[in-house]
Every structure is written in C-alpha cells, then in structure tokens.
C-alpha cells in the first residue's frame, strides 16, 4: 500500500515538475518590453522591420525590433507607451514588398490625421496595395499603417538584424493617440512568412516577431 502511494506521489511530482519547467521555458522565451522615449509630454517610438532576423533561434524569420531609451535595438514586440498621449512612431522598413491579401488594408487608419509619411514625403491616406512589406496593425485601437517595402532589386539589403540605416530601407512615420491603460495587441497583416501556409505561420503566429502588444501604462 505504501509503495503504491509513493509511486502515485512520485508520478504526480514528475508531472508537476514538467508543468513548472514548461512555464519557466515560456517566461524565459517571452521578450522583454521596451519603453517609448518621452520628451515634453510626447512619446517617441522607434522600430524596424527586417526580412530576416539573422540570429538564433529563427534566423530566417521576418521580425520587428524596437529601440530602447538608451538607443539599443532590442528584439521585442512589447512596447510601453504612456496613456492619453500622442505617440510618434518611426519605422525603418528593411524588407522587400509582398503585397496585401486584402487591399482594403492599404488604407491608413487610426493615426493622427489618418495619414502616414514615407521617406519624409507628404502625408498620405493610403498606399498602393502591392507595395507593403508589412503593416503596423492594432485592431483594438483601430490602427492600420501599411509599411511599403524596398525594391526587390535594391542593392545593399540587410540580412542580419539589427539593421543600420546604411542598408536599403524606407522610413515610415506616423502618430497615434493612446487610450487609457491596457494591453492592445498589434500584428503585421501582410502574409510575409515565407515558406508557411498562406504566409501566415511561423513569425506571424509568434510573439516577438510579427505580433506583440502595445502596453499603455
């Protein structure tokens, strides 16, 4: 009887151990959050999108990166921004165009003025639907910003993140107003995951690559 009880307890302990290790693994894998730079009541967020992360564990996956307040590029998709503020976003886009699955998402939505600017040009309310490499889309905030890709034949394309501005890129700027505190998911809506079914597996289904959260505090 005692041997059976010990056997049950030992099995239970092993199973609990597996669960604990599993959650430790998940917590260690979760990317850390970076904060936007706040100056004079305005928040500034600097991001980049790359066609290939170039590092362990998935060097060939597309990804977002964010710049922390110290100016270092961090592989994360958790971005902390202040509540009830205007956030000015700059995205350095290093990937080539894929095009949208749904052309409606060529429209800019949810930004200040309903516009974005590409390479310092005039503010635009939409782009050509075949041009986006990625999007910055936060459905809960009604935000959608298409990020035009670089020319597929561009020289000096970046293949290992973080990418410096000496590589071919587009610079997209826009601003949005934050609501009250909360976690608001964002994603890329372009089917840009090369090699996956419908281009929507792998990095498109993984936090830290093309999905993340805008953490409004």
């Amino acid at each position: 009887m005692r041997a059976r009880l010990l056997g049950v307890l030992a099995t239970l302990a092993v199973l609990i151990g597996f669960v604990v290790v599993y959650f430790i693994f998940i917590l260690e894998e979760a990317p850390s959050a970076i904060s936007a730079v706040v100056k004079n009541g305005q928040a500034y967020l600097t991001l980049q999108t790359v066609g290939a992360y170039g590092n362990h564990p998935y060097p060939d996956w597309v990804s977002y990166l964010g710049k922390d307040p110290e100016g270092n590029w961090v592989h994360t998709t958790y971005f902390k921004v202040p509540a009830h503020s205007v956030v000015h976003v700059t995205v350095y886009e290093f990937d080539t165009a894929t095009g949208l699955r749904n052309n409606f998402l060529a429209a800019v939505r949810g930004t200040v003025g309903g516009t974005e600017s590409v390479n310092g040009g005039a503010a635009v309310k939409y782009v050509n639907a075949s041009l986006p490499a990625h999007t910055f889309t936060a459905p809960d905030l009604n935000i959608n910003v298409p990020l035009p890709g670089i020319n597929a034949n561009a020289k000096n394309q970046c293949s290992v993140a973080p990418c410096s501005n000496s590589f071919a890129h587009n610079t997209i700027t826009f601003s949005f107003r934050t609501p009250g505190p909360g976690d608001y998911r964002f994603q890329c809506i372009v089917p840009c995951a090369l090699g996956f079914l419908y281009g929507f597996g792998g990095p498109m289904q993984t936090i830290g690559y093309m999905d993340g959260e805008i953490v409004v505090t």
């Binding site: 894929t98 699955r101 749904n102 409606f104 309310k125 459905p139 998911r185 996956f196 929507f200």
Partner: protein, 289 residues
C-alpha cells in the same frame, strides 16, 4: 432495478414513491422559476428576429431539461441521505434485478425527448424568425429566406487572420472595418474568409456563420432595435483568435445613409484598388506564401 427487502433491517421504506414525490415537488417549483424568473435572462436577448427565436428555444429547452435535472438531483440527494453505509458496516447491499418495465419506460421517454427536440429544432430553423434560418449560416443556396429577401441589404463579411472587414456591394463594393446596419431592414450576410476557417458570430444579433475560404455562407437577420453588438470569431484560427473581436452598430435609416455615404467617399481611393465584388476571393497564396 429494484431493491429487495432485507430481513435483517426490517421492511424498507418505499424509496421509489418517496423519490417520485420529492421529484414532483421540485419540478413543480423549478419549472415556473425557469420560465418566469431565469428565462428572461437567458441569452441572446431580443435585439433581432433571430435572437427572439433563439431565446424562445433556449427557454423551452431549459424548461424541458428541468424535470430531468430535478430527477438527477433529487435521486442524488436521496441516495446520499438514505443509502449511506453505516460506520463499520461492511456487508454487501441487496442484489439488483433488472425490471423490463422501467427499462422500456426509460428508453421510450428519452427517445421521445430526443426525437421531439430534434423535430422541434428543425421546424424552428425552417419557420421561426420570419423564415430567416434563425441566424445560422445556410451555405450558398439558403433553404429558407425572408419573404422580401430580394430587397435585403447585402453585407459581405470577410475574415482573415485576425480581423473582420465588411463590404457593401450595394454601395459600390466599399469595404470598411466597421459593421453598421440599418434597423428594421432585412440583412443578408455573405460570409467568407481569405485564409483559414473563421466563424462570424454577431452575438446580440443571433447570427453565427462559418467563414470558409472559397465558400459563400449566407445568413439573414433583421435587427429591430438600435444599439451596439459584439462580433467575435468562434472558430480557433491562430494566435490572436481570442482577440478577433469588433463591435457593430444598428442605427436608424437616416444615420445609416449618412454613414455609408461618408464611408464611400472616405475610402474611394482604396475601393478603386479592391478586386471586383465577388462572393468569394482567391488572393494569391503562392505569391504571398
């Protein structure tokens, strides 16, 4: 099944009769409670013809289930209080013998219940809510339609990982991220998907239809109250499935006309880039994959 009187414990009380009496009392109390107290709060409300029909079905099913539930609970409580073994009593209980009469009653009753509910549900799908199919997706050739379905407002629901958009073919095929409907007008949803299987669930409207790539799934509804309603995806579809929500609005005719006119104007440049309106789309998975 029946229990045999035991000589050692004297004549057994008439458990069957006791349970039947208790069950009858519990049922007489709980059925009216279900109909008039709990029933009015059972989802999905009364915002549309579909939800009204679904609400009636839910109340009927819950009411019919009440006698069954009471029988189980009463028997459980009775067994716990009356059939409990006394401390130290290790003797076996009396043997059980099958009773054909009880088995026949049980099989006939449950069969009638299941078949009757099946018939009731089928008839309700075909006839309730003004022949609208009670808000369910009916495929590309609906079996039942509202009488005036030719004049229904057509709205295409497009699912993709992980958001909903909506096209209005009667207004130049404009597409929007907001679902706005006029009150007291038949609406014909055409539900489809651009990637994997989703499910369009407009909760307070009582509409649920699978969004399948390459398929046109039609569902009808007539909202008869203004207000907002939730839209959710009801089919596991990937990382952000649990966040694939939005809010729709039912507004007056005048407000709808104002909104759709502004939307058509606002999105004209993007509408020009959309593919021609179609009940299904085959976006380029090869190029985009």
């Amino acid at each position: 099944m029946s229990s045999q009187p035991s000589d050692s414990v004297g004549r057994e009380p008439r458990h069957g009769r006791n349970i039947a009496v208790l069950w009858a009392i519990a049922t007489v109390i709980m059925v009216p409670v279900m109909i008039w107290v709990i029933g009015p709060h059972i989802p999905p409300g009364d915002m549309s013809n579909d939800t009204k029909a679904q609400h009636v079905v839910n109340v009927v099913l819950a009411t019919l289930a009440m006698p069954v539930l009471m029988l189980i609970w009463v028997f459980l409580a009775y067994a716990i209080t009356h059939f409990r073994a006394k401390p130290g009593d290790t003797t076996d209980g009396p043997p059980l013998h099958s009773v054909a009469r009880i088995q026949i009653i049980w099989i006939v009753t449950t069969s009638l219940l299941v078949l009757g509910l099946g018939a009731y549900g089928t008839i309700d799908l075909l006839t309730a809510a003004g022949d609208s199919g009670v808000g369910s997706g009916e495929g590309s050739n609906p079996l039942v339609k509202p009488a005036d379905s030719k004049n229904a407002l057509q709205v295409q629901v497009i699912g993709q990982q992980w958001l909903w958009t909506f096209r209005y073919p009667g207004y130049g095929g404009v597409e929007t991220a907001h679902l706005v409907l006029p009150v007291n007008r038949d609406v014909e949803f055409h539900v489809t998907s651009l990637d994997v299987v989703h499910s369009f669930w407009a909760i307070e409207l009582g509409v649920k239809a699978d969004a399948v790539p390459g398929a046109d799934n039609i569902a009808f509804v007539t909202a008869d109250k203004t207000g907002s309603f939730q839209v959710r995806c009801d089919e596991l579809c990937g990382l952000w499935h649990g966040h694939m929500n939005t809010t729709g609005n039912v507004v007056s005719d005048a407000k709808f006309n104002t909104w759709i006119a502004a939307t058509v104007k606002k999105y004209a440049p993007v509408t020009a880039q959309l593919p021609k309106y179609s009940t299904v789309y085959y976006p380029q998975p090869v190029r985009n994959g």
